[in-house]
């Protein structure tokens, strides 16, 4: 009897674990499939800090915007960055707010600092996982091209963002690496 109760509880726990894993996957899959697509220009990276083994660290040119609702932010606080597209079709932060906007595309961010009227934030999508043997050459390729021709395609939905692909010029990072090998 006691054992049956334990088994029942165990089943509940197992269900919760499975549900969490599936929910996580679904949320990101949905963002990737139906989210709005933005292309973000990457910035040059600090070569001593960027190499992380199995992923590369993405840095972006556009990481700041003006606060539009008069909110005061401190370091580490959560804020919402409203994302727009400039004339060249590249993403930029059109404003920072303390609450998510009703209609515009936005992403949930952590505030870093405010300088010269612009509030800089940490974008949540800053890693790009690669197969183990590709990470080191990718790091070099990305570093050499970041800020010049490097861009990251990101899908945004409900404040979440997923990196779809990283491009060097017209090629995806993976294609670029295969070719340069």
């Amino acid at each position: 009897m006691k054992n049956n109760k334990l088994l029942l509880l165990f089943a509940v726990v197992a269900l919760a674990q499975t549900f969490t894993a599936l929910h996580m996957a679904w949320q990101w899959e949905d963002t990737l499939r139906t989210g709005q697509r933005f292309v973000w220009e990457t910035a040059p990276v600090d070569p001593y800090d960027a190499f992380k083994g199995k992923y590369i660290d993405l840095r972006f040119k556009e990481t700041g915007g003006v606060i539009i609702d008069g909110a005061q932010f401190t370091y580490g606080q959560t804020a919402y960055a409203i994302i727009g597209e400039n004339a060249e079709g590249k993403a930029y932060i059109s404003g920072i707010a303390s609450k998510p906007p009703a209609s515009a595309a936005y992403v949930k961010v952590k505030v870093l600092y405010t300088e010269g009227g612009k509030t800089h934030v940490e974008l949540p999508f800053k890693r790009y996982y690669l197969p183990e043997n590709m990470a080191a050459p990718a790091e070099i390729a990305y570093r050499e091209n970041a800020g010049k021709t490097g861009i990251a395609a990101v899908r945004l939905k409900n404040g979440y963002g997923v990196v779809e692909k990283v491009y060097i010029g017209d090629q995806t990072l993976e294609e670029h690496l295969l070719q340069s090998h």
Binding site: A11, F125, E174
Partner: protein, 429 residues
Amino acid sequence: MNKKALAALYQDLPDLVAKGILSPESAERLKQHYGPLGESQGNKTFLLVFGVFGVILVGLGIILLLAHNWPQFTRITRLAISIGLLFTAQAVSGLALRFKPDSRIWREAAATFHTLALGAALALIGQTYHLTEDTDMFVLTWMLLSLPLVYLLRSGSAAVLYCIGITFWVTNVHEQSGRHLIWVLYLLALPFYWQRLRQDRQANATAILSWAFNISLFISFGAAFAAAVDNLGLLLYSALFSLNYMAGMFWFNTAGEKWRMPFKIIGIGGSIACAYILTFQDIWRHLNVKLQNMFTPDLMLLAALMLLAVAGNIRMAQQFGRNSLPLAAIPLVTSAAYISLGFDASGAGAAVLLNSYLLLLSIWIIRKGIRQAGLGLVNLGMTLLAALIAARFFDANVSFLIRGLVFVALGAGFLITNWFIVSRRNTGG
């Protein structure tokens, strides 16, 4: 239960039955519960240790294999692997719970594997979608989802993994105020730990859990109160270590091998280390204690810990006599030194106070060791004394005058102690 304790229990059983404290049936049931003494017990322990270690290696291996990030896998394949791994782990745990609920080896190994597999499954999803920001969220989700396994499978190794996980979590949380959730996380695991202490205090698994819990607690404290620690660091830690030591004296002072009760060991080691660091005048000179406002959270925390330390000292004196106080009083001496900074900002006074105190403490420890013929204590005292002398000899920041005086005092103290012990021995002999 550990072998020695079991041997002692079995030795006492006939006597307990003869005196009518236990019925012969209860004694028989006890024997059945713990199994035969001797080699089979040892074998079981080996099987358990290697079983758990084997499972940890397999689990970590799976995590590494998945971390390779196979380019051939599509997103749906990755999801299938992730969920498949989770189902396998759940099946193993479910089977252990259903068919082997009394086998510790099965329960521990299944819970350990399940915990690691759950982490691997969640990490694979994170890798697929390039998730970054949430290292802390990921670990928190993992730990909360694996905590029930600790209780359902009564697994000490899963509890140790939980301790490691939440410690990792608290040191990775971005927002300072969010770190205090750690106390709730400890609270969630406390009933299990409490139960282990009550049921099986002398067991190896309980001892390992005690160590993990204790070390984790100190790291978490540093992370959760980082701002306060920056300001009043060593004093706070000194109070905390001392409370740990006193908790060890009050509640974990059972006879047996000392390593099984880490509270006293970590408490003594930490308290002495804090005091030792503060014997350097340089440390005091660079301390930037801000005491403008009496009601900052830092000071409230310090006051609370200090009140507990004072209360602990009073209880120590009542329970173990005044002789137990020299070690327990470290935070009180340290706070006196902090207060002295108000009068002497150079820190010379504070450093002299700590030096004198540690000198007396080391002599007291040596003396106690000689009295009890405890070589460990004598060595601890001698090491402390030697460390103190070595530090002062090379400490160029203290003026020659103070150095000279401290050295004379040290030497005199050493001679007097020796003379005292020898003469006492002679008169005693």
